[in-house]
């Protein structure tokens, strides 16, 4: 839902970032207002996951230039845990397994950290059990997953559902979902997409990273961005995704070549 007067949640400005001294992002610009759903598409290796990890604060990524404001505040100055507590959520493309740490305990600690920041009181084990059971419904997950270690031995699709469960518990203002649709079977895709739709509200925003139109058939984006070589090359409405489905990414090369010849070096 586009409302020009809705508050700005995220303002990414000329963001440059590298990992292991390898520059990956070369000037990303993107603004997101409350209520909006953005889709980011682009070839493998174009920098989509890098962008999401920089936003979440992964320590391996170094920001060399540019800025990110989250609700007017310098996001990059915050530790990853502070970002999360204030409402930035990253659904990982590849959620890691954490043996020995109980999923239930993990979800409870995470939820309470966010609740404290929101000024709500912490939930004790019983109150939390009630909440988590209710949210499990949203992603149609078996409560048995709560008893296991975080993501350990989960199938690809189960890990993705666990990510959405976390999102449902943490009540984020900006949710970045990195290929949450990949690895899901058809029913699971519908369930997960339904969950995302239910959680979307006029107060929060969603940034979907995806390769597939089938997700955007269920979650209608307000904006579609195409990423290439570490920057956003083109932005359009939902029809841009359909166009991509049709034409693929060959046109990207021509545009990148044109950019490279432009008098001002972008990177």
């Amino acid at each position: 839902m586009i409302r020009p007067d809705a508050p700005l949640l995220l303002e990414i400005c000329d963001l440059h970032a590298s990992v292991d001294d390898q520059p990956i992002l070369h000037g990303v610009n993107l603004s997101i207002r409350a209520g909006e759903i953005h889709a980011v598409m682009g070839r493998n290796g174009s920098g989509k996951s890098t962008l999401s990890k920089v936003l979440a604060g992964h320590p391996a990524y170094r920001v060399s230039a540019g800025s990110v404001l989250y609700r007017g505040e310098d996001l990059l100055a915050l530790d990853p845990e502070q970002r999360a507590r204030r409402g930035v959520f990253l659904g990982f493309q590849y959620p890691v397994e954490i043996p020995g740490v109980s999923n239930l305990e993990f979800l409870r600690v995470a939820t309470n950290a966010r609740r404290l920041e929101q000024g709500h009181e912490e939930l004790d084990t019983f109150a939390f059990e009630d909440l988590v059971r209710e949210r499990l419904e949203l992603v149609k997950m078996d409560p048995a997953f709560l008893e296991r270690s975080v993501n350990e031995g989960f199938s690809g699709g189960e890990k993705k559902r666990n990510e959405i469960l976390q999102m449902a518990l943490l009540d984020p203002l900006v949710a970045i979902l990195d290929e949450t649709d990949s690895g899901l079977d058809i029913d699971a895709l519908r369930i997960v997409a339904g969950g995302v739709n239910q959680l979307a509200s006029p107060d929060n925003a969603t940034l979907l990273i995806t390769h597939y139109q089938r997700l955007l058939d269920v979650i209608t984006p307000d904006y579609v961005h195409v990423m290439a070589a570490g920057r956003i090359l083109r932005t359009g409405g939902k029809e841009l995704a359909l166009e991509l489905e049709d034409r693929g990414y060959d046109w990207v090369d021509a545009e990148l070549a044109a950019l490279a010849q432009a008098p001002v070096e972008v990177g």
Binding site: H58, P59, D79, V96, I98, P99, V101, F106, A110, V150
Partner: protein
């Protein structure tokens, strides 16, 4: 720098590194037969004990310092150590009110309140400061049940027959280099005697504090559980930070008769040296228990977090039929620490059973080795052992090794060994952090998950402590 890279987090300084300024009586540096005699005469010991010491000393002179462990350290100069140091106060005090307030304050600061009103409820404490025991709490209450809990020096005076009967029967004075040294010069330690049929009504605990910089600590603990008796005992240790190394060579002996059980837990937090490996305690300890009786049981639980060098193998000799030995261990090394630790389970009697669960955590440039022996003798029909050795690596400069030895003379013995290695990755920590969980809590969640099987064995009051201790020790080590 936008986010605090995990490796940049400042390491928490060692909390217990202070020195108590108290007048100490020390003897001159060096070791000789005269020194052994001097220690014995200072303690006014009976002849049998002086003999025990002298035999040990003569043996020690002929022995060679062991070099088979995966440990590297400069040669120890045994003539450069003080073998006896005691805070100056006339006699051991009958009541705590008479104990030097500086000593009480020291133990308060260590979180071990000795004064009546603040005592840990239901835990009796023997507090050992340098070479001597300064106070033992709840003695009268324990005496009502026939339980003896006092310093070993007092036991020598008050119960010489028990000491003569049991001392050195589990760890003979010539058992190994460090045990022989201990037998020659041991100064104090705890003595526990649980008479027939008594289930000790409270948790017993000894707290060892090294204070002097140039003094070795050689304590000796003896615990006897008669038929059907049972006790849970906990040992804790800390030391100030000095930039020289101090030697700690202790001996612990456990004797368990028919149907009796001893649960012995250790939370070892000696000073480990700084991040460059300067200073710290050299910890060479011999701990052994004998399940002499049928259906007897010994359970060792240890959480080893301190010391520059750890050389320690709490063992069980399973003589009685159907006796049970257990070893649960968490050994954590960080910075330049080195640990070579494990256990020996010696199956002698029929149907004896043993369980070994070892969790090694290595961070920094440290090295952490598990060394364990499972031995099954010809009469140990139906013996069973289960061993599980897991290593967790933090960072990429730490080392973990596992040396399991199995010697069986019983073809039908069931011996099972499992081992695993894992690593805390920056991505796992980031995952937890990206859900609002702070760095330290994230490390502590992962480490306590890894150690859960062992922590579950600790007495309740101490399990949470152990969790916190590990998190503290690991601060700044992941990155």
């Amino acid at each position: 720098m936008t986010t605090a890279a995990v490796g940049d987090l400042v390491s928490q300084p060692y909390k217990y590194g202070f020195v108590t300024d108290i007048e100490t009586e020390k003897i001159a540096k060096g070791l000789s037969e005269d020194v052994v005699r001097l220690i014995s005469s200072k303690k006014d010991e009976p002849a049998f004990l002086l003999d025990f010491r002298l035999r040990a000393y003569r043996n020690w002179l002929l022995m060679k310092e062991p070099d088979w462990a995966a440990l590297g350290y400069p040669k120890i100069d045994y003539q450069n150590i003080i073998y006896y140091a005691a805070p100056k106060q006339r006699e051991k005090k009958a009541s705590l009110d008479e104990v030097d307030p500086k000593l009480l304050e020291t133990f308060d600061k260590l979180g071990i309140p000795l004064s009546e009103q603040k005592r840990l409820s239901n835990v009796a404490v023997d507090a050992v400061f340098d070479s001597v025991s300064i106070a033992t709490t709840y003695r009268e209450k324990l005496a009502e049940h026939g339980v003896i809990f006092c310093s070993i020096s007092e036991a020598v005076k008050d119960h010489p027959e028990l000491i003569e009967r049991y001392l050195g029967t589990v760890v003979p004075s010539n058992d190994n280099y460090f045990a022989a040294l201990n037998a020659a010069v041991f100064s104090d330690g705890s003595f526990v005697f649980i008479p027939k049929g008594v289930d000790c009504p409270m948790e017993l605990s000894t707290y060892f504090r090294i204070n002097s910089g140039d003094t070795g600590q050689f304590e000796r603990t003896l615990i006897v559980a008669e038929e059907g008796a049972s006790v849970s005992y906990l040992e804790g240790c800390t030391a100030p930070m000095f930039d020289t190394n101090q030697l700690h060579a202790a001996v612990v002996e456990l004797v368990v008769l028919d149907d009796a059980s001893i649960k012995y837990s250790t939370v070892q937090n000696w000073y480990a040296g700084d991040e460059n490996g300067v200073g710290g305690i050299y910890n060479f300890v011999t701990k052994r228990g004998q399940c002499r009786g049928a259906r007897s049981r010994i359970s060792w639980t240890q959480v080893e977090t301190g010391s520059a060098i750890t050389w320690k193998y709490p063992s069980c000799v399973l003589q009685g039929a159907d006796s049970v030995g257990e070893f649960y261990s968490v050994a954590l090394t960080n910075n330049c620490q080195q640990a070579d630790t494990g256990t020996k389970m010696i199956h002698v009697g029929p149907r004896t059973r043993s369980t070994i669960v070892s969790k090694g955590i290595s961070a920094g440039r440290s090295s952490n080795s598990y060394r364990g022996l499972v031995q099954v003798g010809p009469k140990a029909i139906g013996a069973r052992n289960y061993s599980q050795c897991d290593s967790m690596l933090i960072g990429d400069r730490a080392a973990a090794n596992t040396y399991p030895y199995i010697r069986s003379q019983q073809p039908d013995a069931a011996i099972e060994h499992e081992a695993s290695t894992c690593r805390i990755s920056a991505d796992q920590l980031f995952y937890l952090q990206s859900r609002g969980i702070g760095f330290e809590e994230a490390v502590s969640m992962m480490v306590s998950g890894f150690c859960r099987d062992v922590f579950n064995q600790l007495p309740m009051e101490f399990a949470a402590e152990a969790d916190k201790l590990l998190a503290l020790k690991l601060e700044g080590s992941v990155g």
